[in-house]
């Protein structure tokens, strides 16, 4: 698999505080990589390191196979667009002026494509309205338009739907999907609004207290969150035998726990297990969403 971004034991320390602790993650090409973590987990820090705003304390990262200490990185970085924290826009300028400024910074010979970009993000009717008078959603969309100047193929978005109203959230979601599907742009998107992320992400990276705790594809996550009946038994080999006889789809979670992916008749199930000398000590229905899965990964409680 081709990766757009790979980090290798990337760490960032602020005095004694470890904002990132040997983070190793891989963003596959063409994916929408949902970067999930609580506030202060290290999501923005990682994005700041990738964008060159901060320097790693140790470890390294590769963008399109070019290491962060390689001189060629500045060339590769032209393929990246990013909105980290707040959209980087001049408030005194209009949307067009902001885009023109970005075009000049990129050294693009003409302003061709600005109208198309404005239309793409739905800001084509803003005219002479200055960015300072834009709503939060409009600023966010202008930030994305700026990030899209120069046709990047890797987009980094840090909490792009934070503070947006439901309509704004839908617009940004549709825009990200459109960019990924129509322009084949790989997107690294961080968020703690998990349900929203679950609607677009193809891959996930879960981060907590500066550590990547798990990376998985959306398919794997779906599998993990699949509705099932979780039983705790006293004799797992016997239970397996009984379940095979009942022709039920199941997965052995650990020595005493089995997930059954079906809706069996509980009486039949318990009787069959009892016939195999296996007692059911607990039985619960599992129906996890992304939020539940995340909580089960990092544990509940405060993020402070």
């Amino acid at each position: 698999m081709d990766y757009v971004l790979k980090t290798n034991a990337l760490s960032k320390h602020y005095k004694k505080f470890k904002a990132l602790n040997e983070v190793t993650m891989n963003v596959p090409k063409g994916s929408i990589y949902g970067f999930v973590g609580r506030n202060g987990a290290g999501k923005t820090t990682l994005m700041r390191l990738i964008c060159g705003m901060q320097f790693p304390s140790s470890g390294d990262f590769e963008i399109y196979g070019v290491k962060n200490n390689d001189a060629a990185l500045s060339t590769v970085k032209k393929r990246i667009g990013a909105v980290v924290e707040n959209p980087s826009i001049f408030p005194e300028m209009t949307a067009i002026e902001n885009l023109k400024n970005q075009y000049r910074l990129l050294g693009l010979p003409t302003y061709d494509g600005i109208d198309e970009l404005l239309e793409l993000v739905g800001l084509n009717n803003t005219g002479k309205k200055k960015a300072k008078n834009f709503s939060l959603g409009m600023r966010q969309r202008l930030g994305i338009a700026i990030a899209l100047c120069g046709n990047p193929d890797f987009l980094i978005l840090d909490e792009p739907i934070n503070g947006l109203d439901p309509q704004g959230i839908i617009e940004i979601r549709e825009l990200i999907l459109k960019l990924n599907q129509e322009r084949n742009i790989t997107v690294l998107i961080s968020s703690h609004i998990l349900e929203e992320l679950s609607k677009i992400a193809t891959h996930y990276g879960f981060i907590d207290k500066g550590n990547i705790i798990r990376e998985m594809s959306a398919m794997q996550l779906e599998e993990a969150c699949r509705k099932c009946l979780r039983i705790t038994v006293t004799n797992t080999p016997s239970a397996i035998k009984a379940l095979d006889e009942l022709k039920l789809e199941y997965k052995v979670v650990d020595d005493t726990t089995i997930d059954i992916y079906a809706k069996p008749n509980i009486t039949h199930l318990v009787t069959s297990l009892a016939n195999e000398n296996c007692e059911v000590t607990a039985c619960t229905e599992q129906d996890q969403n992304l939020e539940g899965f995340f909580v089960s990964l990092v544990g509940g409680g405060s993020d402070e």
Partner: protein, 240 residues
């Protein structure tokens, strides 16, 4: 570097603050000429007044332009697209030098043209001497640029404008007090050569400057030290 410089220069010329600063500093020069008309005292305006006023005006405009890149986050765009931090500093430096030079030209043009219009007696001025002093003042003003950039890079927001003002005021105070108090102290006089405001009471368009080469060396060394310090700091500094 060219892309960066083009974008930065266009942004400066498109911003209102640049024209406001230019207008008001020129207006102030003309005002000085106007209020001194009764005494026909032109001396002190193209030299001391320029050294006293322009660091504040140019400083404010430069600090505003640079700090707005930090506060708006646009500097992030520059870094993300691969512009090196060194090139960013060089681009800012060139822009700041252009701003200072234009402000200075407008100030002096305003001073001399208004003095001419008000029929000041300028016959006692020696062209060669005036040009020599004006060039020296120009170099001193340009050296001030690098200090402003250093402050902006350290503070990363509009606080830098306030700090720049405080520093310039402090220098103005030290210079005006120290210039007279330590007129016989060679070390103090040498130290004052390192700052534009330090020459406030020394330079005059009517007299030959004392060892101008030494003033130029001091101004250049201040510029180089400030620029190297800025580069060293910014190159390895984690941005807020």
């Amino acid at each position: 570097m060219n892309k960066l410089l083009t974008a930065d220069i266009i942004r400066i010329f498109k911003g209102k603050s640049f024209y406001y600063g230019l207008f008001f500093s020129t207006l102030l020069a003309m005002f000085f000429v106007f209020i001194n008309k009764s005494s026909n005292d032109f001396i002190g305006i193209p030299d001391s007044s320029a050294l006293m006023i322009l660091p504040f005006f140019t400083g404010a405009v430069i600090a505003l332009k640079i700090s707005s890149e930090f506060t708006s986050g646009v500097i992030r765009n520059k870094l993300i697209m691969g512009h090196s931090r060194i090139k960013i500093i060089f681009s800012w430096s060139i822009c700041a030098l252009i701003i200072t030079l234009l402000f200075y030209i407008f100030f002096e043009a305003g001073t001399f043209s208004f003095a001419y219009l008000l029929s000041y007696n300028l016959s006692h001025l020696e062209t060669k001497l005036v040009i020599k002093n004006l060039l020296l003042i120009g170099i001193l003003l340009l050296s001030n640029v690098f200090f402003i950039i250093l402050i902006c890079v350290i503070y990363e927001d509009t606080k830098s404008i306030v700090l720049m003002f405080l520093f310039e005021y402090a220098l103005l105070f030290i210079s005006s007090m120290g210039g007279e108090l330590f007129s016989d102290n060679k070390t103090a006089q040498l130290l004052l050569r390192f700052f534009p405001l330090g020459q406030l009471t020394v330079l005059s368009v009517t007299k030959a400057p004392d060892r101008p080469w030494l003033t130029i060396i001091c101004a250049l060394s201040t510029s180089i030290i400030m620029l190297v310090t800025t580069l060293a700091y910014f190159r390895k500094h984690d941005m807020k």
